[in-house]
């Protein structure tokens, strides 16, 4: 086994409420790890801690052996809430991470164009968020996350606010992108089908306080077919796990 890129072993509580209890897992480079859990089980808290926005109450989150720190590590985080900056055009928004890291304007714009093309939004570079649809905004957030070529990409229910159709198309798109560059991804969702479609490995969380209930390695070849027998089998198994959780 490769040395882990991400090494998590921590608990988090807010006051008296235990949110995450003894969450331990490791992520290898180039892995697509999906964390599935019921609504309100602290998934967003997990995303915030992995990305360094929030700190665990005890334990550690290490990236390549060092405590996670946005000033050192090259992490990107796609948040669940719509996150486009209202006063930024798409190009400004997508290149924000590069600007913060001190990349020159010309280089940033050229990289920005690349990732905007990657998510299929070319031609909209000068649009403001209010001028584009919800699905496009989420693609901007994904492009922004990719622009900095992160070592670790964390996504917290990135398609949660999208309609079923757009969501499906986005899943295909995210897989297409991942197959090209094999970035290490931690993807958090409450949608089991989405998890089975995307994951190389799945962690199932219990409800509050969240602990890791079970781990699945998904070895169905890609691109996966949602109606494939093996796919439905894995999906049913995980669904069953989740029902026991409830």
């Amino acid at each position: 086994m490769d040395s882990p890129l991400l090494d998590v072993s921590m608990s988090k509580s807010f006051g008296k409420i235990d949110v995450l209890r003894d969450i331990r897992f490791r992520v290898r480079p180039n892995e697509f790890l999906v964390v599935v859990g019921p609504t309100g089980c602290g998934k967003t808290t997990l995303g915030n801690i992995l990305s360094g926005i929030d700190k665990p109450t005890s334990g550690h989150v290490r990236i390549m052996g060092e405590d996670v720190n946005p000033h050192i590590h090259n992490i990107s985080y796609v948040l669940q809430e719509p996150s486009c900056i209202p006063w930024y055009t798409m190009m400004q928004d997508v290149t924000m991470g590069l600007e913060i890291r001190g990349v020159g304007r010309a280089e940033a714009v050229s990289r920005g164009s690349e990732v905007i093309k990657l998510v299929g939004l070319e031609g909209y570079e000068n649009y403001y968020p209010w001028q584009i649809s919800g699905g496009m905004k989420q693609r901007v957030a994904i492009a922004r996350a990719y622009a900095t070529s992160p070592d670790l990409l964390i996504m917290d229910e990135p398609f949660g606010h999208l309609d079923a159709q757009t969501r499906y198309l986005m899943q295909i798109e995210i897989m297409r992108i991942w197959e090209q560059d094999r970035k290490t991804v931690v993807f958090i969702t409450n949608n089991i089908e989405e998890a089975v479609y995307l994951a190389s490995r799945i962690l199932v969380l219990t409800k509050l306080p969240a602990t890791i209930k079970k781990e699945y390695v998904v070895d169905i070849p890609r691109p996966r077919d949602l109606t494939d027998e093996r796919f439905l089998e894995v999906r049913a198994e995980i669904t069953q796990q989740c029902e026991i959780v409830e």
Binding site: I53, I72, S76, P129
Partner: protein, 263 residues
């Protein structure tokens, strides 16, 4: 002409219609009352022409009154912005500053500018009296809106920057300030309105015989309603025009917003 333009033309026409309706009602009312306290629009127009061409009882023309008031308002308003915006920003960013001085700031906010008149007369002279009272009226709406707006900055936007390792200064410059600017503009618009409301109070104590507020007071002593109403309308119309200009500028500056409030 598209639907939007049609709607705009309609809006303008209806506003003109509203004005006409009010003028007609006023005419009918004054004809019915037959009282010097309700001069008909024709008399108000005459009073206006008189004030504009011959000036008031002391020969000071309406334009000079307006100019004097405008300068006072701008002085007080500019001081209110210069103090209210930075202070609101600072206290919003460092809430402790506000929390620990709250007992001083908040009571002052509720003292109406008129209650400050005796203090202003005793402590200040000349131009500073006007500026001070107008400053008092305009400062708090600007300060408080800025302060509250900073606390309402969307944490998601801050987090987006944080994950990339943004410095505090980047977050303030690129996230916090652009996010609060529209609210600051709203606060300024409200502050400007209150500044106009304070002008009469300010000019009551100013000593100088010039200014739109003073004009109203002069004719109040003579109970000449025509000139008083001209003074009132002048304040109303200039305030209205300033507000309209403000809205146009806001829309230009905040292009990134899909809509701008027009209250």
């Amino acid at each position: 002409m598209n639907d939007k333009q049609k709607e705009q033309v309609k809006t303008v026409l209806y506003n003109i219609l509203s004005l006409i309706v009010v003028a007609v009602l006023w005419t009918l009312f004054s004809a019915w009352q037959q009282s010097p306290f309700f001069p008909p629009p024709a008399d108000i127009w005459k009073a206006f022409v008189g004030l504009a061409t011959q000036g008031d009882i002391e020969g000071i023309s309406l334009a000079r009154h307006i100019w004097a008031s405008l300068i006072r308002i701008f002085a007080g308003f500019a001081a209110a912005c210069a103090l209210g915006i930075p202070l609101g920003l600072a206290m919003g960013l460092w809430p402790r500053m506000y929390n620990r001085t709250r007992a001083v700031l908040e009571p002052i906010r509720f003292i109406p500018p008129i209650a400050w008149i005796p203090m202003a007369i005793v402590l200040l002279v000349g131009f500073s009296r006007y500026a001070f009272l107008i400053w008092l009226g305009a400062f708090f709406p600007i300060f408080i809106t800025t302060l509250l707006s900073v606390t309402r900055v969307n944490p998601v936007h801050v987090n987006v920057a944080k994950v990339f390792g943004a410095s505090r200064s980047y977050i303030i410059r690129k996230i916090v300030i652009p996010s609060v600017l529209p609210d600051i503009a709203t606060g300024m618009r409200v502050g400007l309105g209150i500044a106009w409301m304070c002008i009469v109070a300010a000019e009551m104590i100013g000593g100088e015989m010039i200014g739109v507020g003073r004009l109203i007071l002069k004719y109040a002593e003579l109970i000449r309603m025509g000139e008083i109403i001209v003074g009132m309308l002048v304040i109303g119309i200039i305030g209205f025009l300033m507000n309209e200009i403000f809205i146009v500028v806001e829309k230009r500056v905040f292009r990134w917003r899909s809509e701008v409030s027009i209250d």
